[in-house]
Symmetry: C2
Subunit: 338 residues, 2 copies
């Protein structure tokens, strides 16, 4: 097999100010780098767009370095090894790695994880979703950061997204008394209740979050899994029961906001209610992976978990997929098929 | 001994809007109630004014019910039993109880704790300070809520107050790498460094808290004990190290604020830094009392802890003492000698 000389890749053209637009991205062809010792050449099959990528598009110091303007973006992807200079991976292996946003990636073998194509039945997107980073985020965030306990009333925002939809389902499978979700459309609300088994769900665009949450949870909430921040977090602080536990996972209401953030204005509730607020990123919980694969993989195999995907076709549409993700166009995990 | 027919008591005249004034209090004489079965009559010797009392002056639902307008205020006090209808307490016993703000209190024996006058050498204020509620607040808040660990860099706001001054000293005694305090005057800053052994201290009125904190803690902070909220909390979130732990204990910058609270605007740091924020009130940690008395009592007996008091003479000056407390006039525990 002749190796490709070049391939499509997507670069950051400029840093978005506020909401990202297509002008922040460059779709171009670039030479495929040489495969060095210990590396493999991967033909990407599917890639992930995730909300956290928005943060990397800013020039701010954070837990991972910012993307660089003029160079290819990065992110989770699954592809097939088409050349190998590593004894650990062979041509034909399917691997999960961190160099998405491009047709061909040269990856250090140590940064590529071989996945079992049998487990997914060829639908590799699960390794970027329910059995991947969003799945572990939901699992570890709920069980560790929020210290979920059987009998809890659980509220999750962004509940129709990749992480939120799993948080709600895992809470139910682990014995939550009640699971409440918020989402941004009537269709998503129906999906939460009809397909995912949420007890209550509401469209945050229908009215103040606090009013809708109070109605959905007259008994208060014990756990809040926050993907949104802002008004959602304030409502959850108001409605929280004594000793409530919050997992702070995301703040999508703020990622594209140019105005100054003013919330939460009622954090004092955390004192009077003896609450715990735990911020986290998934990397912290790597040691939970084995337990996660066993439990969540088991539920998935038994058909107890619904893992909806929104799949966009074509690498050239990845910027649009990302922009749409920011606006909540997806239900479940947003993927780009390459 | 003839029992008193009446005595001075201080009532809430009206709920303060913003900063409390003397007009919010009524100083009056009232009949001493009859001592019922299981009760004792106590002549109060010393009483406490505490920041949390401000919250009870508002008509808002919280962990304790609000004070009622027209009735006597309540709060920690130590006094001598002068009549007893309880087999558990005898005339002459010295007891700690919750009915301060009055000369004579009729207390259910079950709500009065006999204290050892020998321990305090007759200075009963310690039972309202270092060995009382503020002491346990500092001890449990630092060790449990903030999960303090040897080698931590610790920042405490309101550091010259009853709680803050103990937090810093306990942290040093327990092996903190560095203890930083903020306070509201040059005298207090000197007290923190010269008398209490803080490594760094600054006057928050001298300039932006963030700038001063960054200078005091170029290595970042691992623990923040928050008595103040607002700008202090935002600065601490900015300067926090990965995995930092915050104990949220008070918000004195906000208690008398009529304008809407706008902070913290940078809570997103809690996510990227994997931080834990734990709100608490001391009642939650009652099971720690025995350990607290043993360890803190030991340090006190060995002269390893400085427990400064600001003592105001005369029950009629209790409203002024409280108002002054709100403005930070005290160094260490604020007490009213009756």
């Amino acid at each position: 097999m002749t190796l490709p000389a070049d391939g499509v890749e997507i670069r950051l053209a400029s840093r978005p100010e506020g909401w990202p637009t297509s002008e922040n991205f460059t779709i171009t062809r670039a030479a495929v780098p040489a495969v060095g010792a210990g590396q493999v050449l991967v033909r990407n099959l599917v890639m992930s767009v995730d909300p956290y990528m928005r943060g990397r598009m800013n020039d701010t110091k954070s837990y991972i370095p910012p993307f660089e303007v003029g160079t290819a973006l990065e992110g989770g992807a699954v592809g097939e090894v088409i050349a190998s200079e590593s004894p650990d991976l062979a041509v034909g292996d399917v691997v999960l790695h961190g160099l998405g946003w491009r047709e061909f990636a040269v990856v250090d073998a140590g940064n590529a994880v071989k996945v079992d194509p049998g487990l997914a039945g060829g639908a590799y997107g699960v390794f970027l979703g329910v059995l991947g980073m969003p799945g572990l985020t939901a699992y570890a965030g709920l069980l560790k950061a929020a210290d979920f306990r059987e009998g809890d009333v659980v509220f999750v925002s962004g509940a129709a997204g990749a992480v939120g939809s799993l948080v709600g389902q895992i809470a139910k499978l682990r014995g939550a008394a009640k699971v409440i979700g918020s989402a941004g459309s009537a269709e998503k609300v129906a999906h939460l209740k009809d397909d995912l088994g949420f007890d209550e769900a509401f469209n945050y665009k229908d009215g103040p979050v606090l009013e809708q949450l109070e109605k959905a949870a007259p008994e208060g909430i014990d756990v809040y899994f926050d993907n949104v921040a802002g008004e959602h977090l304030e409502a959850a602080l108001s409605v929280a029961n004594q000793g409530a536990r919050f997992a702070l996972c995301g703040a999508i209401s703020q990622y594209n906001e140019k105005n100054e953030v003013v919330a939460p204005r009622n954090l004092f509730n955390a004192i009077t209610k003896g609450m715990n607020l735990r911020g986290f990123i998934v990397a912290e919980y790597g040691d939970l992976k084995e337990q996660f694969f066993a439990e969540v993989g088991g539920w998935l195999a038994e058909g107890k978990l619904v893992a909806r995907e929104t799949v966009v076709e074509g690498l050239e549409n990845a910027p649009t997929a990302f922009i749409d993700l920011m606006r909540g166009a997806n239900t479940g995990k947003m993927l780009v098929k390459i």
